[in-house]
Every structure is written in structure tokens, then in C-alpha cells.
């Protein structure tokens, strides 16, 4: 059994993976303090959805959750569990009954949760009260399978968790014999995911002036499409290639959101799991207020870029951060009230 954690800790229950979905991994807030070792930041690609899902079950914002991609997993819960799913709009079922997402969910022991195909967006986050148990590596439980840390979930895997309340809180609405949901939903955030063309705000990249005026203009005027080779390291774009500079760049640090243009002229937008350094010229950098949107681009999605100043990027970062704090406080408070209502234990 490829154990992800000690599953036999006293008092622990197991969730068993019946089907892994397209690409499911354990993620938290990643490893911001180990980049000097060449370790990617990583962590949940939609950082806000990670926080929200955790708050819905009463966790700290950075507890380890399952990040699911495109098609989610089918999971069996040994004991009762307090869970929530945030991020993209997935069709979810419990014991075959449709299950609304974006709200606190109580599951009874033996429940089978199936996160099926995504309807809008691309990545979802399944949180469980107490967090999924795994040994932290370099201060984080985020999987980085490429470098031997954690793994991509496979059928038969088991993860330990602390059992949730034995009965649903009074205010919860039953959806099956072994599942009930809170009477409120934290919608709203997904409205940021545009249906047709995703607009990404960028500032000038470190090598923007290496590109000709024509290439710079074309980058902003063209609509780009997400290529299937995209992964947690980077979103590869396709479209009419840009004229890439011939100059050689000595490798230098990069950030998630850096837009690299290799010799083939097709931009790559780096994601949170990107390498810490890169040798391709960078035409632009996606502002951090828009980084979570990258998590919801899927092969075939269309994107366009809009330029803002660095000052504006910092201002937008502040606004985004303050709004997120207010929203997450509200989510945490509503969730607390819901779980505290009589009926649970």
C-alpha cells in the first residue's frame, strides 16, 4: 500500500481512493522559503479556494487539501467527516445523489464521494476537518511528485484523517442517508472566471525591451489558446508565434506568472509549481491578483493579456488581499455558525 501518511495513528480514520480522477494531489500553501534550494513554490494553484475550502470545515487556511483537476476522484470515507469543495464548479455526488459544492458537507461513515467532471473552471479543492494527514517535507505537505515528494493519487491509496462529528448539525439538509449539507453557499468567487476569454493583467517582464515593438504589440492584441501540454509548472499557449529575441539570457530567478517566450515564439505562463530559475526571455508577468485565475485555464481556454503599471499591480494586490480577507472572515464565521448549530457533537 503506497501510504501517504501513517494511517494507523490512534483515533484516525482512512479515506480510500476508489478512482483517482485525472490528476489529484495533496496541496497546501506550498514552500515559499526553500526557493534558494531550487525547490518550487508549489502548493494549491488557486490559493483563495484552498483558504475557503479549509474555512468551510473550520480549519486554518493552509491545511492540506486534495487538489482535483478536470475530473475528480471517487473516495470512500471510513468514518464520519466534515468536508467542503471549493474552486471550480464540479458535478459532485454522494452515494449517487447530487451534492452541492461551495458549502459545509457532513459525511457519514461509509459514504462514497464522487467528484465528477468539471463544469466551469478547472481545479477544485476538497478540504476535510483536521486536514488530510501526511508527513510534512520542507515545511509543507504539498505533493511534488516530479522530485520524489508525495505522489499523484492512485486507486487503492489511503489517507488518514481525524473523524468528524457523528451526526450532522441540526440546520443541515440531508442529501442522502449518509450526507447532509449546510443551508448556505459561498458562491461569488467563481464569477471571476470568465467563460469566453480569460483576461490576465500583466506588468512588463524583465526582458520586455529585448522584444521588438511588433512582438510586444502582437502579444497584447492576439487571443491565445491554452495548449494540452500545460501542467502545474506552466500554461503553454498556442497561436501565431511571436518574434522571439535571438539574444541568450543567463539563467535568472523567475516568479509564478512570468511569461517566458522560448525560441519557438509561443509564450509559457509559469504557474506556482514552476522552476525557481529560467533562461528564456520574459515578456510580461501576470500580477498576483490574477494568479488564481491561471488555476482554472484548461486546454482550449482562450486568454488575452492587458498591461498595467507596477504601481497599479501593487495597488491591485492590496485590494485583492483586503477583499479576500473580508470574504474569508465571512466564510469562516458562517461555517462556524453552521457547524455549531445543535445536532452535531
Amino acid at each position: 500500500m503506497p501510504a501517504l501518511a501513517r494511517t494507523h495513528e490512534p483515533g484516525m480514520a482512512r479515506v480510500r481512493v476508489l478512482a483517482p480522477g485525472l490528476f489529484t494531489t495533496l496541496q497546501d500553501a506550498g514552500r515559499p522559503h526553500h526557493r534558494r534550494l531550487g525547490v518550487p513554490l508549489g502548493g494549491a494553484l488557486d490559493a483563495l479556494a484552498l483558504c475557503a475550502a479549509n474555512r468551510l470545515v473550520g480549519n486554518p487556511e493552509d491545511s492540506a487539501v486534495l487538489e482535483v483537476t478536470g475530473v475528480g476522484p471517487k473516495l470512500w470515507f471510513e468514518a464520519p467527516a466534515a468536508v467542503a469543495i471549493c474552486g471550480a464548479d464540479f458535478a459532485a455526488y454522494v452515494d449517487g445523489e447530487p451534492l452541492p459544492i461551495g458549502r459545509p458537507i457532513w459525511l457519514g461513515g461509509g459514504a462514497v464521494l464522487e467528484v465528477q467532471k468539471v463544469r466551469r473552471g478547472f481545479r477544485g479543492y476538497l478540504a476535510i476537518r483536521g486536514g488530510f494527514r501526511a508527513e510534512p517535507v520542507l515545511d509543507s505537505r504539498s505533493a511534488l511528485p516530479r522530485y520524489g515528494i508525495g505522489k499523484r493519487l492512485a486507486a487503492g491509496d489511503e489517507i488518514a484523517y481525524l473523524p468528524g462529528p457523528t451526526a450532522p448539525p441540526a440546520g443541515f439538509r440531508p442529501v442522502s442517508a449518509r450526507a447532509a449539507v449546510a443551508p448556505f453557499q459561498v458562491g461569488g468567487w467563481l464569477d471571476q472566471i470568465e467563460d469566453e476569454i480569460v483576461i490576465l493583467r500583466v506588468v512588463r517582464g524583465e526582458q520586455a525591451d529585448w522584444f521588438g515593438e511588433g512582438a510586444r504589440r502582437a502579444f497584447f492584441e492576439r487571443t491565445w489558446q491554452v495548449a494540452p501540454q500545460s501542467d502545474r509548472m506552466g500554461v503553454r499557449l498556442r497561436g501565431e508565434p511571436l518574434a522571439a529575441p535571438a539574444r541568450q539570457l543567463a539563467s535568472e530567478p523567475v516568479v509564478p506568472g512570468s511569461v517566458q517566450v522560448p525560441q519557438d515564439g509561443l509564450p509559457i505562463v509559469l504557474m506556482r509549481e514552476c522552476q525557481t530559475t529560467g533562461g528564456y526571455p520574459k515578456l510580461a508577468t501576470v500580477i498576483s491578483a490574477d494568479l488564481d485565475k491561471l488555476a482554472h485555464l484548461r486546454p482550449g481556454s482562450f486568454v488575452r493579456f492587458v498591461e498595467v503599471s507596477v504601481e497599479e499591480a501593487f495597488r491591485l494586490r492590496g485590494v485583492h488581499h483586503r477583499l479576500a480577507r473580508v470574504w474569508l472572515r465571512w466564510v469562516a464565521e458562517r461555517a462556524r455558525q453552521a457547524w455549531d448549530s445543535e445536532g452535531g457533537d
Binding site: P32, H33, H34, R35, R36, L37, G38, V39, V137, L138, R146, Y147, G148, I149, V202, V203, E206, A250, S251, E252, P253, V254, V255, P256, G257, S258, Q275, T276, T277, G278, T285, V286, I287, S288, V310, A313, F314, L316, R317, G318, H321
Partner: protein
């Protein structure tokens, strides 16, 4: 020195393009700069990490906890404090010996490197061991060290077509650089040998064997010695 923000996530301090990186001149200046930066940033909230490139140092920050202007002012002070030094001194790093099996299955490009360099494979192996290398930066994958100090005669370009998988421990050459693949990854460097030493191990006290400024030498070993030492890291 040029200072610029990387998006709204980090501050990059970059040396002028005419500072040579192959000779170690850029490295010496960056090591001094990094030391000065770390002094200026001591105790400052919101500093996530300070990393190095060939010609630059990046400070990653949580700008909710440190104002961009504050970080910029501190970085400028660090740069000014260096100007008072007549010349950057070489900051001594750790000295590390890496055993290498050259050629054969472990070094599939040894013959090609020899041919391009107009040398015999034996000369390539001898010259590679004679080099005294310095770690210029860590990147590409965890623990991957970019080494400078490759003898001129061995400077051959990358492979025309990158390999989809280069084995962990592979010792490669790309232009003026040599280095060791710390994980099995795709890669385009010319592979001349392999070391049994783990360049990265998340469970070690120092997960990355090498840091910028460290001095590295390579030493030819037999395949038997390779297997005997696999997993060792000293």
C-alpha cells in the same frame, strides 16, 4: 546595478551585462551583495527568500508585510554599502569532491564531446577532473548546481535535440557550464558521466548538497566504487 520588481512578487537586483559570469567576477559581486542584503533584511517581516541567478539576486517578499518602497530602500542601502569596498573579496564556500563514472552508459555523450573538442575521450576526462569549479547558482530542479570554471577546451554546445529523460546524477556540459542533474528530468546538456552522490535530499539537514560559492572537484571512479558509494553525499 539595476533594481526592478518582478511583477509584484519579488525584487531583482541585476549586475550590468558586461560583468563576466564565466570568470566568477559576477559570482563574487553577487555573493557580497547577497551578504549585504541579508544584513539589511535581518528581522524584516515578509521576506520569503533570497535567491541567486548568474547575474542577479532576487528577494521574494510578502508585500502585505513589507512595503515595496521599504524593500527597495533597504536594497539600495545594501548596494551602497558595497560601493565602499575597493573590490569584492572572494567569499569562501565549502569544498566538495564528487566521484564520477565517466563514459559508457553513464556518459553517453563523452565521445561526442571529445570529437567536438578535438580531443581524445581520455583527455576530456582528465581535463574535466583538473577543473576547479564554483557553484554560481542553484536552479532548474532542486539542488541542481550550475558550475563555472570549465576548462576552455571542453566548452561545447548543448545537444541539438534535448533528451526527454536524463538520469539523476548525470554530469553534463553546456557551453561554459558544467553541472549535475539532481533529478531525472528532461535535459539538453552533453552527458559525460554520472555521480552516485545525491545532490538533493529533502530529509537531510541541508537538503541541497551545494550552495552558491561552494567549490567542486570531480574525481573519476570505477563502476564498482559508484555502486558502493550510491546514496552517499560527502
Amino acid at each position: 546595478m539595476r533594481l526592478e520588481f518582478m511583477g509584484d512578487q519579488a525584487l531583482l537586483l541585476r549586475l550590468p551585462e558586461d560583468v563576466p559570469i564565466e570568470t566568477g567576477e559576477a559570482l563574487d559581486r553577487l555573493l557580497s551583495l547577497r551578504a549585504a542584503l541579508l544584513r539589511e533584511l535581518e528581522g524584516v517581516d515578509g521576506i520569503e527568500d533570497v535567491t541567486m541567478g548568474y547575474r542577479s539576486v532576487a528577494v521574494y517578499a510578502r508585500f502585505e508585510d513589507v512595503a515595496p518602497e521599504d524593500l527597495l530602500a533597504r536594497a539600495r542601502r545594501a548596494v551602497r554599502s558595497l560601493r565602499s569596498l575597493a573590490a569584492p573579496r572572494t567569499i569562501a564556500g565549502a569544498r566538495v569532491h564528487l566521484p564520477v563514472v565517466y563514459g559508457g552508459d553513464f556518459g553517453p555523450d563523452l565521445d561526442e564531446v571529445a570529437e567536438r573538442a578535438g580531443l581524445s575521450p581520455q583527455d576530456v576526462v582528465r581535463l574535466h577532473q583538473e577543473g576547479v569549479y564554483r557553484v554560481a547558482m542553484i536552479g532548474f530542479s532542486p539542488g541542481f548546481a550550475y558550475l563555472i570554471g570549465l576548462p576552455e577546451a571542453l566548452r561545447v554546445p548543448r545537444r541539438a535535440t534535448p533528451r526527454s529523460r536524463v538520469e539523476r546524477g548525470s554530469v553534463g556540459i553546456a557551453g561554459f557550464q558544467t553541472g549535475v542533474y539532481s533529478f531525472a528530468t528532461p535535459g539538453g546538456w552533453q552527458i559525460i558521466g554520472r555521480t552516485p552522490v545525491a545532490l538533493f535530499d529533502a530529509n537531510r539537514a541541508s537538503p541541497s548538497l551545494l550552495s552558491p560559492g561552494d567549490v567542486v572537484r570531480f574525481e573519476a571512479v570505477t563502476e564498482e566504487e559508484y555502486h558502493a558509494r550510491f546514496g552517499a553525499y560527502t
